[in-house]
Symmetry: C2
Subunit: 418 residues, 2 copies
């Protein structure tokens, strides 16, 4: 019998290290040549399977695959596309089976966040429900750090490091100018429902009264009067005030401070603009001169300042996914299990996809300071090791050298219309 | 006779490398102990002289001064404060003389941009107009790169590198998602009247059709119809479009695309919000899903991704300032003189302050592409070497270690009121 091939896809928002997971998958699969055939990557995620657009990773050199570890974004393309349930859309699942069968694919690796693990879980039911045996392994990825059962999510550590470093640097800037110029700096960061990214900015602090002075988390309802009082007292004490706000900062009724109005394919509201909104509020109520920044994609693409811990874990989880498949496992996701905070030690674990799907892990209450504007010592113990270590990409001519793959598609075997 | 002391001040917006110039000044002054006494740094720039708030840098250890080279922002505080002319405000100049006399200061080093070199030039006339002999040396600094007579300005190379790296990274992100999600990414960068920073984003390109696809420079009047046509054709060709816009992007009548309405101490309009304005325009006229980022202070404080060339030149100019003073020069500013583009070679030069003051160097016409949305090969040859080399700060626990000085003030000798 022909050796079975593997399908690997990147799903949802990309990160600085999702390609490190891809690197882990492909390099490990190449080591298990006897048990696993070619890794086909989906062009634009699961759409690549539906459209029979399969990238033949065996055409990529050892050097190119190794360079994925250093390259941000999704090298094969990602997508925001959510499969319905098998009951609701059996045609889509039948198409997956047709494509997988045509290319002898019996391993399915899906690299994504909560929505994607839900998709992976549905695909894992193909065997039971539609009689096509497929080993299905999820690989965690999300800058939001909101997947359950894994101590942390690849992508988060690097965003956390970017945000902590940027906050430390911008705060020094504001501090040196505040006597005659800008007194308020607002940095808007990602995090729709969970405040992990904004919380990580607190790692910039090394002494009392260090920035950030105020962190706005989606978990804490925004109270305008409390907020303005805190801003004024910060300026009085320090001469300036640095605020880091989650894009998902919200009022008690769940409405976002800044709602851009459009929605993505998953029905999530597209956010943006909390920082200018807060800056204008402070200006109008307190009169302080302000600056604001919105990091947006810069934060999740910032491979140049990636966390070495994050890169290492992203790779390890990709590797573990292949090893779990080789062991015969299915419908599981490898996880990071923390052994100790300091010194930081971790190992790999695993969890059933059915338990992961559609569960969102927010910041626990004991991680949020009493006044709601900061984090506790417990949160700091959790967050600190995730940004440890630098893992600089190679540079040429002053710029990081990121690999671009050939991304050669396999010849189609099926009709384009289905 | 007592050895004369020196006054050093940081002025205007701070940068990732202005402290490297301070390091050059102080380390070099320490080498010329026989000819130069203590370097007193102004607390918050020239205000430190007016208020007799003089920081005694001799109290700082060799290690702390050396660490200034790695530390962004203004270690002694900077200010936005413009001296009037001697004729308009003789009291202010008399106060400077009183303070300098009280502390035996006969060397004056002023580290700043165009407005600051104008101040330095006025101070250099104290001898002629008010009979107080003072050697006055300007040290160039500005992320805007708009000082004349110097090939480049310390601070610019590091912002240029930050912007080029960030554009390359964010563009990879957009490229991997564009088929089913965001098609437009707008990055807003600094540059009020000169487009140097936005232009530097073009260094992110390494192949045809690479991002950024559109650069909006203040030098090129914004034409909405041309712009939208270009955006649509980019999306058609590449599947996505990355735009880098100067905060100073403006209409033909000189009004800014986004005018926040407030003004700084120099009477400059405080800008912000070009990126969301452009994104909303594209959404409403072309319907594309967008993301936008405003880098603001993050770009000029980003010591973590500083250009090694920039750090080296910032230090060299600080050093040269002291050496010029030792040689007996006054009313001059050391400059960078380019010898060749590739391999990049440069040397130090000097220019009279009177020629520098209040001259703004915009992008020359032959640096701007025909359609106004990009740069020419000549611009690329000019810009490329300025981002060469990485100069990483030391890290601990995942965070860059930036020095904070003791900043011990000298005892006042004069009445506080003047």
């Amino acid at each position: 019998m022909l050796k079975a091939n593997a399908f690997y896809a990147q799903s949802g928002g990309v990160t600085a290290v999702i390609n490190a997971s891809a690197c882990g998958v492909i390099e490990t699969a190449r080591q298990y040549k006897g048990q696993m055939g070619t890794v086909f990557a989906g062009r634009n995620g699961i759409l690549g399977a539906l459209n029979e657009e399969l990238i033949d990773t065996s055409k990529e050199s050892v050097q190119s695959i190794a360079a994925l570890r250093d390259t941000p974004s999704g090298a094969f393309g990602s997508c925001r596309y959510k499969l319905k349930s098998i009951q609701e859309n059996p045609r889509e699942y039948q198409r997956l089976i047709d494509v997988f069968k045509a290319h002898n694919i019996r391993f399915f690796f899906y690299n994504g966040g909560g929505d994607s693990q839900d998709t992976a879980n549905k695909v894992s039911q193909l065997g039971r429900d539609l009689g096509y045996e497929l080993q299905c392994i999820g690989i965690p990825k999300t800058v939001d750090n909101d997947l359950p059962f894994t101590d942390s999510c690849p992508g988060f550590g690097s965003v956390a490091k970017y945000v902590a470093v940027s906050t430390r640097e911008a705060a020094l800037d504001v501090a040196s100018m505040c006597e005659t110029s800008t007194k308020i700096f607002v940095l808007e960061v990602m995090g729709r429902h969970a405040g992990w990214i904004a919380a990580a900015s607190a790692l910039a602090q090394s002494r009392p009264n260090d920035a950030p002075h105020i962190i706005l988390l989606p978990e804490v309802p925004f109270n305008q009067a409390h907020f303005l009082k805190k801003v004024a007292s910060c300026v009085k004490r320090n001469g300036y005030c640095v605020i880091v706000a989650s894009e998902g900062a919200q009022y008690a009724d769940g409405s976002f401070l800044a709602d851009a109005g459009s929605k993505d394919a998953f029905g999530h509201t597209q956010l943006g603009g909390v920082a200018p909104m807060l800056a204008a509020l402070i200006k109008s109520e307190l009169g302080y001169k302000y600056h604001w920044a919105v990091a947006d994609y810069l934060q999740r693409a910032a491979r140049h300042i990636a966390s070495a811990t994050d890169v290492e874990q992203a790779y390890a989880l990709g590797k573990a996914a292949v090893e779990l498949a080789i062991e015969g496992k299915t419908a599981v996701m490898p996880t990071i299990v923390r052994i100790s905070d300091d010194p930081y030690r971790w190992k790999l674990g695993e969890v059933k996809l059915s338990r992961v799907a559609n569960v969102e892990r927010k910041m626990p209450k004991n991680y949020i300071s009493k006044d709601g504007f900061g984090i506790t010592a417990a949160a700091r113990r959790y967050l600190a090791p995730l940004i440890h270590g630098e893992d600089y990409p190679p540079y040429e001519g002053g710029l990081p050298q990121y690999v671009r793959l050939k991304n050669q598609l396999v010849a189609k075997k099926l009709p384009v219309q289905w």
